[in-house]
């Protein structure tokens, strides 16, 4: 017996070891053949695994002999096994994860898409970076989430969500969001209601406000000295005071931007709507030497980074102001190909983190005021803001009933639109589109559609441009919608593109804004300027000097970004829009709606 045991014990491990080695060699060959072992890290891992396997195989016999000396060995064996299994179960995941990180680098973080407003994007981006760093802290320095923060103009994001993110939205706004962080809770209510139905591909879980930023009146520092007083003043009082100094007061479109709307609603409470509307100009962002209605955080950021010329803006806090309250809504997609399930957990984590001390400090540092924490050291006087606030209102925004009444009042009070429309009639406009019509005829059809949006008191004029001339077809002041189509029917597109000349001509013809009128120039072009004597800078200067909004629709070869057409439109709070021949009609209509101030 003893003999037999002896012999077995001496050969069995060798056989087992040899067998294992043979298996490993075979496996190794096949792995290298398929290219799985391409990095030195994978070789190291392979080596460790092999050594463990061969060693354990050769050690079996010795362990066996050892075990035979133990009494109640089955009990002991089971106990050891259980303890070992427990240890492995507990220790393996972190050890394996750490080993993986050491050898192969971090696992890729989960992609979380955060949709926010253009105003909030820089702030949320900054906070998101801090959250990413936070996720790295307990995870060997590897971030578990990556937050892609993007924004859409005005209420474009809300509209896209309502239509379940169409392919057009995917192209123009961005990827499907997992988190929607709009400026105000009032924006979410309607979207949540519209998307809540059965069969909707998107489900929005409304969340609480993460922080707030009061709507303020930003005034140039020099003027602020004269108007600031110790006593609390309302929107109406401040507006009258600042208006009395003679500087312009810019306001974002109240039908599309939340700060413009909240301020206007407060203003209408104490002032005649018409008085307010005659005094404001449309402005999306702060301009030098003018007052602006905006949120505190935008003003602060402008003072910190965007303000080239000191003195910058000082925030005036009306006592009856409302505030942007940044609710964090979770967005879930039900379509199987875009659901991005993995993002749901980190999205919730982000939401929870914003409520922690660390999250609130991050919000504060970025310029927002978390509800449960006092304003931090960032809120300094040099940045034009005040740390301590005394606001009268408990609610962040007026309720929906007030909002509906407001729209009606605004409709009646706003100034009438005067639009100068300039159409590109260069040779390239004669190119056929996918449907067989020329670009020009598609544009004419778009104009016809857009003119139906005209309000009761609105007027328009029309010119076409090609070669080196701008030709007036219809003088300003017409209300006849058919005249445009008839006049355009006679135009034969040919020659170059005097785009700059067309813009300057439009500015002259539409005339300055006055108490009852607000003008705009709309230019439709399919190419970059080729034949104007004026440079881009001349145009930008003229637009800025006259303060008339310029809108450009770029089709075909033209592109807002590629040709920097936005530099013209930005000079006056206008907009450049890339369009295709399929969407040209709708884009023109949307633009006219904006110029004529319809409710959309």
């Amino acid at each position: 017996m003893e003999d037999v045991d002896q012999r077995r014990s001496s050969t069995a491990p060798r056989y087992a070891g040899a067998l294992m080695l043979a298996a490993v060699a075979g496996h190794l060959l096949s792995e290298t053949a398929t290219g799985a072992l391409a990095t030195w890290q994978s070789w190291v891992l392979y080596g460790i695994g092999t050594a463990l396997l061969v060693l354990s195989a050769s050690a079996i016999d010795r362990l066996n002999r050892l075990a035979k000396r133990i009494r109640l060995r089955w009990v002991v064996f089971t106990a050891v096994l259980v303890v070992a299994a427990g240890l492995v179960a507990l220790a393996a995941p972190p050890v394996v994860a750490y080993g993986r990180v050491l050898l192969l680098g971090c696992p890729q973080p989960t992609e979380v898409r955060v949709l926010t407003s253009q105003d909030a994007a820089p702030v949320i981006g900054e906070v998101a970076r801090k959250f990413e760093q936070h996720t790295a802290a307990g995870n060997h320095g590897c971030r578990t989430a990556r937050l892609y923060v993007f924004s859409a103009w005005g209420n474009r994001g809300a509209i896209a969500l309502r239509s379940s993110w169409s392919s057009q939205d995917l192209k123009e706004v961005g990827p499907h969001p997992d988190v929607w962080l709009p400026d105000s809770t009032t924006e979410t209510t309607e979207v949540v209601r519209r998307t809540g139905g059965i069969g909707s591909a998107v489900r929005i879980t409304p969340g609480e406000s993460v922080a707030f930023s009061p709507v303020v009146l930003g005034v140039p520092a020099a003027i602020a000295q004269d108007v600031v007083s110790e006593a609390a003043e309302t929107w109406g009082e401040l507006f009258t005071k600042v208006g009395g100094t003679g500087i312009g007061i810019g306001r974002p479109d109240p039908l599309r931007a939340i700060d413009g709307r909240l301020a206007t609603e407060a203003l209408y409470e104490s002032l005649e709507p018409a008085v307010v509307e005659r005094r404001v100009e449309e402005a999306d962002r702060p301009r030098p030497d003018a007052a602006v209605i905006t949120t505190e955080q935008v003003l602060m950021r402008h003072n910190r980074t965007g303000c080239a010329r000191k003195p910058c803006l000082t925030a005036l806090y009306p006592s009856d102001t409302y505030r942007a309250d940044y609710p964090l809504n979770l967005v879930e997609w039900d379509a199987p190909d875009v659901s991005n399930l993995a993002a749901r957990a980190p999205a919730r984590q982000f939401q929870a983190w914003l409520g922690t001390q660390e999250g609130m400090t991050a919000l504060n540092a970025a310029g927002l005021r978390p509800a449960r924490q006092a304003a931090g050291p960032e809120f300094r006087e040099e940045l034009g803001v005040r740390a301590g606030l005394a606001l009268d209102r408990a609610e962040a925004a007026p309720d929906d009933a007030v909002h509906a009444a407001f729209q009606k009042k605004y409709e009646q009070a706003k100034r009438d639109g005067r639009v100068w429309l300039a159409l590109d009639a260069s040779g390239s406009m004669a190119e056929p589109t996918a449907t067989g019509d020329t670009r020009f005829s598609v544009a004419v059809e778009g104009v016809r559609k857009a003119l139906t949006q005209m309000g009761a008191e609105d007027t328009y004029g029309l010119s076409v441009f090609n070669n080196s001339e701008v030709r007036q077809l219809i003088p300003l002041g017409r209300r006849d919608k058919e005249a445009a189509t008839a006049a355009l029917g006679t135009v034969q597109p040919s020659g170059g593109t005097p785009l700059h000349q067309a813009v300057l001509d439009g500015l002259d013809r539409v005339g300055a804004n006055d108490a009852d009128h607000v003008g705009a120039v709309v230019v439709l072009t399919d190419g970059e300027d080729t034949t104007s004597p004026q440079t881009r800078q001349d145009v930008v200067d003229a637009v800025a000097r006259k303060g008339i909004r310029v809108f450009v629709i770029a089709v075909g070869d033209a592109s807002c970004a590629a040709h920097a057409l936005t530099s013209i439109t930005d000079a006056s709070g206008g907009e450049c829009r890339d369009s295709t021949t399929d969407t040209l009609g709708d884009d023109l209509a949307a633009l006219f709606l904006r110029v004529w101030g319809g409710t959309g």
Binding site: A38, R143, F150, L170, P175, D337, S339, N340, E528
Partner: protein, 441 residues
Amino acid sequence: MKWLRRTWAALPRLGPPGVVWANRSWLAMGVAIGIVLTILFTSGVQPLFRESGEWEKGKLVVLSGRDESEGGQRRALINQWNAEHPEQPAEIVELSSEADGQRSEMVARAREKADNVDVFNLDVTWTAEFAQSGYLRPLSTVDTSGFLRKPLESCRHQGVLWALPFNTDAGLLFYRKDLVKEEPLGLDEIATTSTRALRAAQDARLTAGFGGQLADYEGLTVNALELIWAEKGDVVDETGKVVIDSDRTRRALRWLADGLQGEKPVVLPESLDQTEQLTTQAFRDGKIVFMRNWPVAHRTLQGNRGESAGRPGIDFEVAQLTGPSVLGGQNLAISAKSAKPRAAQALIEFLTGPRSQQLLFERGGLAATRGIVYQDSQVTTRHPYATTLLKAIEDARLRPVTAYYSRFSDEFRTVIRYALDHDGALPANATQVLTDALQGR
């Protein structure tokens, strides 16, 4: 061993009774039958189980950024494919024009269980990430001859071919012909030529010497890498080690930081807020002598070459950068989840084929990934920079290859912005931070 010998000895007795199997010839018989059976099996039975070479039927979904070619040439090519292959129609799902947004949507879709995409149109910097994450299916049996070496290199990761190059790109140096006598060979020459031109004040519009894309986005990464390479410095070497801490790198960064200073600066200070289009605008308005930009700027500038109605024209020339350029472009890869890999591969081969590449370059202005297209006379007349571009692409270098490229690029830009504020000096932890970023930390 004994049993074998015993069996061997017993062999003659194993034949059927009554038949004389002399000399164990049944063994030879068995071998013959074995051979016949094997042949029958391999030629008759096995093919039934082998994958067929035919293309799968059904719609092919291509996930891509916006088509920014002239006149939508990519779409035109897809239409052509659809006309020729009605059983495998392709559909482009266009994503936003911002690269980060495209990546975000592609990654999210790649992680879905559903078979929702067949072909990815990937930026050259994403190959490593997508390959390593298992989102791609390696390409096999592809003919890669005819592709330019550098673009093809960007399709490989760790020795495996994951994609085929769709279009490529390389930065070029645009300069004013009236102000520059000969092509500059280094950053110092750019500085001296600029200073001379600014002093001579031939052109009142001139405000600086050199303009690039230094706003805080991928453009800054690209421009900074090229400037460092121009001074023969480096950031990450071939073995993946961070080597940014060198005198040459610091010299390049000091050139940039110092250049931005002064009354008549060598580097246009507005560059710090400029993207490709704004730099083109500055060059077109005569503000700068030299401009670093992608060849697409040529299209915009060409129209302004001559004098027109009172506005002075811009007479310019295109040359290679003084150092290697960053390689740009996009590659087409098959999604690992695609149920139609053969049809998808056929589509990719069609889109990267010589005829498609010719059309995309000639009509769409997207630089071709095949050398032969650059020899075409129609291409060279329509795009006179083609020969220079080809050389620039051949000399171009890839941005650091890592599965965490976007993290690396973020951190690298932080380092560069620090250097610009500190006269070219690097932050003390630059090497550590970048090394971590390459590992995704």
